[in-house]
Symmetry: C2
Subunit: 698 residues, 2 copies
Amino acid sequence: MSSVQNPATESLSPANTAQALDQLCINTIRTLTIDAVQKANSGHTGAPMGLAPVAYTLWQKFLRYDPTDPTWPNRDRFVLSVGHASMLLYSLIHLGNIRIPGTQEPAVSLEDIKNFRQNGSRTPGHPEYGFTIGVETTTGPLGAGCGNSVGMAIAGRWQAARYNKPGQTLFDYDVYTLCSDGDLMEGVACEAASLAGHLQLSNLCWIYDSNHITIEGKTDLAFSEDVAKRFESYGWNVLHVEDANDCDATTAALTTFKQTNDKPTLIIVHSIIGYGSPHKQNTSAAHSDPLGEEEVRLTKRFYNWPEDAQFLVPDGVLEHFAGSFGQRGKTMHAQWSNLFDQYRQADPQTAGQLDTMFARQLPENWDKNLPTFPADAKGMATRDASGKVLNVLAENCPWLVGGSADLAPSNKTKLVFEGAGALEPGNPGGRNVHFGIREHAMGAIVNGLALCDLRAFGATFLVFSDYLRPALRLSALMELPVFFVFTHDSIGVGEDGPTHQPIEHLASLRTIPHLITLRPADANETVEAYRVIFNQTARPAALALSRQALPVIDRTIYGSAEGVARGAYILADTEGDAPKVILLASGSEVSLCLEVFERLKKDGKGARVVSMPSWELFEQQESTYRDTVLPPAISARVAVEQASTFGWERYVGRSGEIIGMHGFGASAPYKALQNRFGFTVDKVLEAALAQLASTPAS
Amino acid sequence: MSSVQNPATESLSPANTAQALDQLCINTIRTLTIDAVQKANSGHTGAPMGLAPVAYTLWQKFLRYDPTDPTWPNRDRFVLSVGHASMLLYSLIHLGNIRIPGTQEPAVSLEDIKNFRQNGSRTPGHPEYGFTIGVETTTGPLGAGCGNSVGMAIAGRWQAARYNKPGQTLFDYDVYTLCSDGDLMEGVACEAASLAGHLQLSNLCWIYDSNHITIEGKTDLAFSEDVAKRFESYGWNVLHVEDANDCDATTAALTTFKQTNDKPTLIIVHSIIGYGSPHKQNTSAAHSDPLGEEEVRLTKRFYNWPEDAQFLVPDGVLEHFAGSFGQRGKTMHAQWSNLFDQYRQADPQTAGQLDTMFARQLPENWDKNLPTFPADAKGMATRDASGKVLNVLAENCPWLVGGSADLAPSNKTKLVFEGAGALEPGNPGGRNVHFGIREHAMGAIVNGLALCDLRAFGATFLVFSDYLRPALRLSALMELPVFFVFTHDSIGVGEDGPTHQPIEHLASLRTIPHLITLRPADANETVEAYRVIFNQTARPAALALSRQALPVIDRTIYGSAEGVARGAYILADTEGDAPKVILLASGSEVSLCLEVFERLKKDGKGARVVSMPSWELFEQQESTYRDTVLPPAISARVAVEQASTFGWERYVGRSGEIIGMHGFGASAPYKALQNRFGFTVDKVLEAALAQLASTPAS
């Protein structure tokens, strides 16, 4: 690493050479960051100060991005996995003059930068996808952006394999990720890197900011591995830039990346955190928090910057950036548009398909041929029904891509129709992704696929939803319509025992804002659950499915499965004026409640069964509907779910009964467990009768 | 890898040579597994069949374990990270004649093996710590055991550094971990391996079963990295055993491990999954499920085993195992006991400390010098109070070890008293563990530390509790009294924005069985929360702490903070007969409710404030106490918490009001957020008055 020397050899103006203009741009990024953090009295200066030359070089010389159309499908993706360095990205978006589509309004104005981290500004503490134009994914939780970027790179190669034609390269975008020590320590990034190497994602470049500093001190307090060797072991090409300030070295490394066609690239950049701050650079103190007024002055002096100027964008900077970054992107986008016009002429149908994909809509007739399952007491597992439905939907929606974390045979997620195929190094257009035993990376990759306009899904056992929970939270925060197939959804797992039996997972998924959790009661509810999922444009979904066979409910006798769309619906109801008990259940417990219902009915007792596959959908219904399903006057209520009882008080009140799990499960055949934990007709009947006895007539 | 050849060159009996007896033992493990899975009609045969020679060699020739005292503190630890291979472990426990302490009863009887995976048997589907003697940690969720084993190895070195004396080596145990492709793909194991390399844990040996098969097919569908090179990059010593059946090669590798003093060891064993099954070996079909009756016969024939015998333990097997494995352990334990007697004579005080540690109790006066904080309107953040309390407790309890995932300065978890020190390669007895930015591994390592009798904790931001949730679940399942310090517990995080602001985390932690979640309202409740935590012997705890300063409540006016121990308590109450509204809150919202209380009181309105730091503790109180705090007759209730409202209906019923978060947070100074999201005196007051107006007098 070079020692710190003054990089600005000329006075601020005039900057006569391209190199001087480059340096001016770099120092503008640095000082905007410093000023923004100082004004906000909050934020992170160190990484942007150290990395500005690298990020600038990437954007100015390589990144294919049309600032007038940030949605251009073949743009390169820039992921700031080191999300706390958000001012680096905001500075680039501002200086690159990226505009809000359809307007001349800047995506990030100087005013936004002055309002860094303030209420309502476009410059939140960490970059938020969908909130600030130019941000490709929400980052901050370390490792997440790395995982997303692998998904994006898979998506790019998938789109190329599926849609490019000889002489018509519609897709050849690259994915660049700026990451930190923290990212590379996180398991999710380790998993994602291993898969990226396996898949030989040569369109993926991670730029690793090796600054040797973490919050607790020197990185080597906890991290002394040979990162280069690790990535080589994954099958990556590893390059070094010995000094972050050496833009030629960065250029050379990025050029090598562009020339590499058989593996992903890691560029290890040796940088100085807080570069230019005489008292804080190269220390933990530079990681976060404002430099302080005096240190700001000293740092600006070091940059040969006017010490009193704040939020200064010197003359020439915007023009310089527009002339290279801006012009290159616009030109390439125009060429691409011409190409796409030719493509459309030759093959309007496929071009139309791409239009639909880019608009993140579904093809017409996406729901054709969906099965209907006849009533069947013996029934089928909802995971089996799911497998059938998913295959139909995937055939109807050609850009649905997904897979399992090595549980496809158990999750029933394998797409088996002709041409589905495995997504492999030699077959990047396969529909079945083998994520390996890497749930967290799977979640992050699924998000990355969706960010590049694919419909995407992942799958594992419900109990292992915990492994990918951080990614699922980001799906929800980014409002991505991805979905996860979580099978083996209760103690119905049986012999595998408590490590494999979800208890708290349904409740804890229901707590995640925006996420839709669905637990269908039978095969036909499974069909309807998929209908709900595919109709989403901005909400992720978690589908909880049974391992064991569930009766296929006779819909000629009971309510229609279409009720799934409303979250909860009346499945069975006695007529007459007898006081009623409402039995609420989801999934495998619905049929149990139907049995109890029939017993009650036979005995002349009033009862209702409400199938409740999704709390979230039910909550968004009008109160008239909700009160029809769950009349407030009926307080005799029993909820039954083979899961934690947590939260069910919302529907049964303080006087109702909840039959659920109050601890972990156990290893035994599942019927033995249902007896042991009280999920039997007798127990539910007993509770229903007690409710009827203790509550006044409605 | 060798081709499959018949390993049994002699007929079953007599086995005259040690080698023949070894082979007999190995095939006994294999056939017990086959028979158990066949009878249960459920389970995994492939890994035990392939790995039996390796595991047998390790136990018979190396593992230091006294079968008559499975709690001997200096025993080697054997971790079956590949938990689905549970029959391998149960066979070893049975053949090794490990006994339930204080009895002659086998920890795993042949009857237990015949009842593999059945209700109540000691042989659940995956090994469960605390349920089956001889099981060192609960495994099944992949990667978890690997992470635990790093914690165990850290613990061993820590105990050695702190307690060994010249000539008196009380602690020098090794930790062996059997792991699979799946383990090594999981992020948690990657994180743990990197830290193990950094810490140069030469007492740690992972044995990697490289069988090239996963559930979805060949491993190279998703996993083609160079594992050896990866582990070398972490700083491990990597050895190979080319054929799992070659016990001499395994012996040589384990001998090399024993001789390695500066780094952990990975032994890559090339094995054949389902070895011996003519039609299933080396395929995914061998991973799980019974072989089938005919295949069982063919496999036994291959082993030269009586085809009709079931659950056969041939003569000589138990004796052979007892003569080596059993005798070695007993002898070494006896030597150790003599040593400990001498140690005790020389230094009874330290020996007594060790007795207390081994009994998993706390030292006398563990709570001496705990601070009391004077009332203070300006107050302090509960994370700051936590830092002070934790330092006192750690000084009082010399075997409390823990740290943060690179957020110690923010989590305030650094132990700063004299002699605390950082746990580093050269200082394995340090008290501050620098986990690096590896939350999931931290969770698994903390569990491993606790399994070796240390009191252990980890720390990160509350929002990143998601990253370690799978480990936290296992803390709860294993009933380990570990704790996690989760700071930055709400939108009070402020400018860092929604990626860093927990919303659903409190609710989702409350859903985990056995876990105690605590969110103290001020500095003094923080003290009491720690008192609760340290009094646990079988429950983990999660402590949610504020980033921002909270008033220190005047306890001369309001209720005593000792109420924390009961989960919820009356903090303020108006006298008289006026109808009352109950304000329930936790953490930072308690003081807000007190302000509202004072406003109501001034206006002559009846009100009560209930501070509710822990739902779980409140739930375990007698109903008389619960009804005193929350009288059923008072239905006017308002709950206030800067978190998802999920679950609060339990305490406010269907008619109460919940002021909480209904979506993600935002980036802004925290006071702006509190206004934006309605956590103000005015809003709470309004809700309280509405409740009073709409409900009948109690």
